[in-house]
């Protein structure tokens, strides 16, 4: 009876989507900020290779963040 009344599958998918999108995007964006912050520190420390690596990772994370947001909106409108 309870299972009939509560839309278990849709609710579970809502929980899963919220956790993946909410936590995932925030964490990936944090990595982007970490990359920029490390790039600045490593550049000051004159470690260009490591700085470039941090910047690359940051850029990748930023691209992933933007892609996730766009994908989320596309899923919403579909």
């Amino acid at each position: 009876m309870i299972a009939t009344l509560v839309e278990g599958k849709a609710l579970a998918e809502t929980v899963a989507a919220s956790v993946v999108a909410g936590v995932g995007v925030t964490v990936v964006f944090s990595v982007a900020i970490w990359g920029v912050a490390r790039f600045a520190d490593l550049s000051r420390a004159e470690r260009p290779l490591a700085a470039a690596g941090a910047l690359g990772l940051g850029a990748l994370a930023l691209a992933a963040t933007v892609a996730s947001v766009v994908l989320g909106i596309i899923v919403m409108t579909s």
């Binding site: 009939t4 009344l5 509560v6 839309e7 849709a10 609710l11 998918e13 809502t14 929980v15 989507a17 919220s18 956790v19 999108a21 909410g22 936590v23 995007v25 925030t26 964490v27 964006f29 944090s30 990595v31 982007a32 900020i33 970490w34 920029v36 912050a37 490390r38 600045a40 520190d41 947001v69 989320g72 909106i73 899923v75 919403m76 409108t77």
Partner: protein, 367 residues
């Protein structure tokens, strides 16, 4: 002719309800951005209004739930919808007057359920829809936002905790412009759709649309415009009181709270769950605060939300039922709704004049 008059009154009342929903909710949508300095109030409010408008066009799942899955549209009349709307507005006014917590969304659904039961009986209510799509998500969504925001900020602090605060804060402030935009988009889509659903239900009840029909474009556009105008108008009142009402948090917490709120509302909207968007936003704010330190959280807000859960649906339902009874005193035509509308408008004006004389601040209800 008589039912067309009632329909016009219902559409006007629903759009007025939508406007007040946006007016009250501006604070919740823009608060985190303004408090962390991510955006100037004028910019945040203008952006929120625009994205509220845009958000109303991206989905109709919630409108379909409100129109087809809560009460049986086959036995509903425009007068029942009207009485439900008055039940919701009256309950919002009562809570505003006494400073009690409220949820416009729960009041709207409670009002319509109450008037439907008064008119037709419990057979008018679709239990699966009410429990599965309204009551359960109403409880789950704020808790989910709390958990998502709390988990997010805990991970964020582990990732960027040892980096220079200046760079991190600047980064999250930029991020907040985007997450704040998503939150406004989410708010617009879930809240505006409730009004679309109510108007669509009235159109079906009037025979203007077939059972199970989607909202026509003019309904979507007018609901979008009403909530966006309400958000923009409400903003200017909020700017004046920003300093006292906004919760203190850092940019990373603001980003996590907004991200959690947007994710939960957008995911719920996709599956057609009508939520109290303010409860979800508050859940996210409390989650991001609790992860840092428990004493940072305004636990009184959590208590208020629980009170709102318990009171709003039955109280709005009772007023909706009573309103339906009053309209029937004047027969089945348009006279009852006209009399109730005039009396309601007179009461609203009197309440606002009395409150203005006292000079008391207007507390925000929730959407």
């Amino acid at each position: 002719m008589s039912s067309d008059v009632i329909l016009i009154i219902v559409v006007g009342t629903a759009l007025a309800f939508d406007f007040t929903n946006g007016f009250h909710d501006t604070a919740n949508v823009v608060a985190t951005q303004i408090s962390t300095g991510a955006a100037r109030p004028q910019v945040a409010i203008a952006m929120a209004a625009l994205l509220n408008f845009a958000g109303a066009f991206i989905s109709i799942s919630v409108a379909a739930t409100v129109a087809n899955d809560v009460v049986n549209a086959d036995v509903i009349t425009p007068t029942i919808v009207f009485a439900g709307l008055i039940g919701a507005i009256a309950w919002n006014l009562v809570t505003w007057w006494f400073g009690l917590p409220s949820s416009s969304s729960h009041a709207l659904i409670g009002g319509v359920v109450g008037s439907s039961v008064a008119a037709v009986g419990f057979d008018a209510v679709i239990a699966e829809g009410l429990v599965g799509k309204v009551l359960t998500p109403a409880i789950v969504a704020p808790i989910l936002a709390f958990v998502v925001a709390g988990t997010s900020i805990a991970l964020v602090y582990r990732i960027v905790g040892r980096q220079r605060p200046g760079t991190v804060t600047r980064g999250f402030r930029y991020g907040q412009v985007v997450s704040g935009g998503l939150l406004a988009l989410a708010h617009g889509t879930n809240d505006a759709q409730k009004t679309m659903g109510i108007i669509t239900l009235a159109l079906i009840a009037n025979g203007s649309l077939g059972a199970g029909a989607d909202p026509p474009f003019w309904v979507i556009a007018s609901a979008a415009a009403a909530i966006a105008l309400g958000t923009y108008s409400g903003g200017w009142r909020i700017i004046r009181t920003t300093g006292t009402r906004i919760i203190k948090m850092d940019a990373a917490q603001g980003f996590s709270a907004q991200g959690a709120g947007a994710a939960v509302i957008l995911a719920s909207t996709h599956f057609g769950f009508p939520l109290s968007t303010t409860h979800v936003i508050n859940g996210g704010v409390m989650g991001s605060g609790a992860a840092k330190r428990l004493s940072a959280v305004r636990w009184g807000v959590a208590g208020n939300i629980i009170v709102a859960w318990l009171l709003t649906l039955p109280a709005a339902a009772a007023i909706g039922a009573l309103t339906y009874g009053v309209t029937r005193i004047f027969g089945e035509g348009a006279l009852g709704p006209v009399v109730v509308t005039v009396a309601s408008l007179a009461l609203i004006v009197a309440l606002f004049l009395r409150r203005a004389e006292r000079g008391a601040p207007v507390p925000a209800s929730s959407g």
